[in-house]
């Protein structure tokens, strides 16, 4: 089993991300996994809000 390279956090972009790169014995990439270690749940907490308020809630999904 080869080396694993972990890039955590991914920087210079908006948002949270993490990459695991698994190398094989020759040092080539065997598998690379990208993960987003964050969840806020807009899909759920927009339910029940007044329709006219949703615009100012969903603008906070991404503020960039």
């Amino acid at each position: 089993m080869g080396k694993t390279i972990v890039i955590d956090p991914i920087t210079r972009l908006e948002g949270h991300g993490k990459i695991n790169i698994f190398l094989n014995d020759e040092g080539n990439v065997a598998k690379a996994v990208f993960q987003v270690p964050e969840l806020r749940g807009f899909e759920q907490f927009c339910k029940g809000r007044l329709a006219e308020e949703v615009a100012r809630i969903t603008t906070r999904i991404c503020g960039v």
């Binding site: 956090p9 920087t11 908006e14 698994f22 969840l39 806020r40 759920q44 809000r49 906070r60």
Partner: protein, 323 residues
Amino acid sequence: MAKPKVAFYWCASCGGCEEAIVDLAENILPVVEAVDIVLWPVALDFKRKDIEAMKDGEIAVSFINGAIRSEEQEEMVKLLRRKSQIVIAFGSCAYLGGIPGLANLFTRQEILDTVYFDAPSVVNPNKILPQLATDMGEGEVTLPELHECVKTLDQVIAVEYYIPGCAPPPDLISEALTAILEGKLPAVGSVLAPQKTLCDTCPRKDSKPEKISVSEVKRMAFTQIPDDKCFLSEGVICLGPATISGCGTRCINANMPCRGCFGPSKAVKDQGAKFLSAFASLIDSEDEEEIKKITDSVIDPAGLFYMFSLPSSLKAKFFEREV
């Protein structure tokens, strides 16, 4: 003399607070000149191990934005707390919970079910949910645990100062940075914004009668408010009386009532309760049944009165009762 070290970090947030710092435009240049930025994931490639390698208290100031929603965020802010002399809760989410704090109206399970199974755009036939650890064959990948409820920064670590706003406006950020660089910070625990109420600075305040009386609560979607009339006196919920000023009445100028992103004055523990008590005194009736009719006409009071401050409220986890 070595430049003071400064860190910027984000938790459950949208990136708007980072954008607010970038919006300082050329005003950021003297700051960048005067300090050494040691962490800022959105802009610079420093990692957690760089912070771990620092001495305790080595960072002069950490600006932390976003609410605390996961184990990783909690660990990271505890690490920054150890390494920093001053921690500033930056923006509504770190200060009060903010929009991500609306998640406290639901259980973690309800959120996961909707996001991964039930939302109309989701296709997930194998019912896959994020796992804390997953064996990929070549090795394991891990994810941080999602907390049962969202917390404010000061519910997790000690915080010296608060900069309110969703997002904080450039002038308040500039003033705070100047105060830090000149060593002129106010008493620990202060909110770095004017403590007057939003109503006091509102361009519509002159249209507010001496005594507002509300006989019917109206929705913005079905009401036309002339652009010089106080929302509250027209029967539309506006959190101005329970919110501090400093935002430049941004929403009011866009003909929308305030939802309280600057939070209450520091003396007030619970912004929604503060608004509710102010609102109750405006109801134009002595008749119990009629009062009930008026209060019942508020649709989604939790969402309206606590849009930005739910985790900071006395009853931080609203899913524990019926809403």
